[in-house]
């Protein structure tokens, strides 16, 4: 079975490719550039096409249902009417699947399930990375805000932190938000007009 993965995110594509190979699918092609999608698909002649949901070229792909003249084998969207939950999970994960006619649904279903779980794993990874970055940025702002307070009020670090915490509680904000506001305000105050 020949699988084509269309994804502009290289990391996600490689996570998916790895999963496909683990599932015993050797014939996997990854496309990240979709300017000549029609021509590329005719050349690759895949049995299954996996494409990320946000890819604008999905409309190009779908037009192939209409113009069978350009593709040898008709392509249909993989929709198992009996399993609406799976379509929902696929859309949530951000992937959609197209198969050529005549392929056994059960085989494809396993691939789709695997793709959905890999896409979700990628989404988790992305979220964790964003969380880590944010935590780091928060840490930096809080440290700078503490330094400003310590200098200004000649207090020690725990006292400066307590001030930030109290302000955050009073204003129903996070400590990081208060710290960011303090840092930017103090930059403004130090600036000469």
């Amino acid at each position: 079975m020949r699988v084509l993965v269309i994804d502009e995110t290289p990391l996600r594509a490689s996570i998916l490719e790895e999963g496909l190979r683990e599932a015993g699918l050797e014939d996997v092609t990854i496309l990240s550039e979709t300017r000549l999608l029609m021509r590329q698909i005719v050349e690759i002649d895949p049995d299954v096409i996996l494409i990320d949901l946000e890819n604008p070229s999905r409309d190009v792909l779908e037009s192939m249902f209409q113009v069978s003249r350009t593709v040898e084998r008709p392509i249909g969207m993989f929709v198992d009417q009996s399993d609406a939950g799976m379509i929902e999970r696929a859309v949530e994960a951000g992937v959609s699947t197209y198969i050529v006619d005549g392929l056994r649904k059960e085989r494809v279903k396993a691939i789709v399930e695997m793709t959905v779980s890999r896409f979700n794993a990628f989404n988790r990874l992305k979220r964790e990375l964003a969380d880590t970055k944010r935590a780091l940025a928060d840490r930096t702002s809080i440290d700078r805000a503490k330094a400003i307070l310590m200098r200004r009020h000649t207090i020690d670090e725990p006292a400066a932190y307590a001030m930030l915490r109290r302000a955050a509680m009073d204003q129903h904000q996070t400590i990081a938000d208060v710290a960011r506001a303090l840092v930017s305000a103090s930059q403004l105050l130090e600036k000469r007009p």
Partner: protein
Amino acid sequence: MTPVRIGFIPLIDCAGLVAAVGLGFADAEGLDVALTRETSWATLRDKLAVGAIDAAHLLAPIAVASKVGIGNPKPPFSALMSLSMNGNAISVSRALYGEMAESREFAAPDDLAGKGRAIAKVIAARKAAGAPRLTFAVVHPFSPHNYELRYVLGAAGIDPDEDVDLVVVPPPFVVDHLRGGLIDGFCVGAPWTSIGLQEGLTRVIAVKPQIWRFGPEKVLAVREDFAADREDVALRLIRAVKAGGAWADDPANRQRLAAMMAEPALLDMAADTIAGSLAGRVPLDDGPAETIADYVVFDRDGASFPWRSHALWFYSQMLRWGQVKHSAEAMRAAAGAYRPDLFRRAFAGTDVTLPGANAKVEGALAAPQPAGSTTGRLVLPRDGFFDGRIFDPDDVAGYASAFEVGKALR
């Protein structure tokens, strides 16, 4: 407040939605609307199908196709109202325009029949010279753009499935494709027509009002079961978006609307480009920019009313081009995709003008004409197809099979 998620594609014709949210019309109906931008019609449709969004700014024919059950299997949608009339245009590369002009088949910008003949001559000359075929792009197989381009080509005896290559290209890529020589022309919506012009790559050979004076484009679609189970929300949406469309139609609001739409989370484009498209300032052929009347209309002159005859006209074109097999049942389903019943209910007991009928003969009005309505204030605008054909919603199959070029069974 009721939360409602509405998906949209960054195009001029989502203006009514933007205004409904930005001007507080949604708020006034107790709706907390979140607008989410999508990158393709397929994704917008799928998200609507699985309930990831509640409503969508959708190509009208996609809603019709969903109800007829063609294209991708999915639950049927209901078009609550029209979001826009017109807005599209056919552009060609300057090279193709040069070839067309050489044929001397047309002189006036309004001579679409002559322009069609000019394209036919280019096609014949290319064939004789063994040159590659002309390639035109549209945005989706189930799009007004597809049917409009095919309509113009077909009128000149050009078979769009045999004589040219018709491909789908996402609007943000059409200008790039044309620059790279991958396509020779395209039919897209505003503001992409203007962007091709700004880049100095294209000539506009036809704007929508020339092809069909007052023709439907986008609808506000929900899932049919949403319209049934949450009818109250659907009615509130109709009221909010109609108010937004009416505000967006007012030229006095154009600058403010353009600034709102230019936001990164919405169209993410220059406000000037948007304002130019809203005003319909477009040069035709190689002439100077002029203001095209009714370039894009959101609400006025009955534009937001979901006319069943619009749904049936799209069905007639699906029939004409072999996208659907004709049956009384399929035709009934097509008409049922548009929901004038809900639109009427949304304004029952108010002084909002509602037409007396749910369908009208399309293309028959040479001048504005008063029409039966609840307030007696409805005047239908001038309407007509460039080739003078008239669409009678009572004879859809006859209309579809009367075209010389097409696949409908005679």
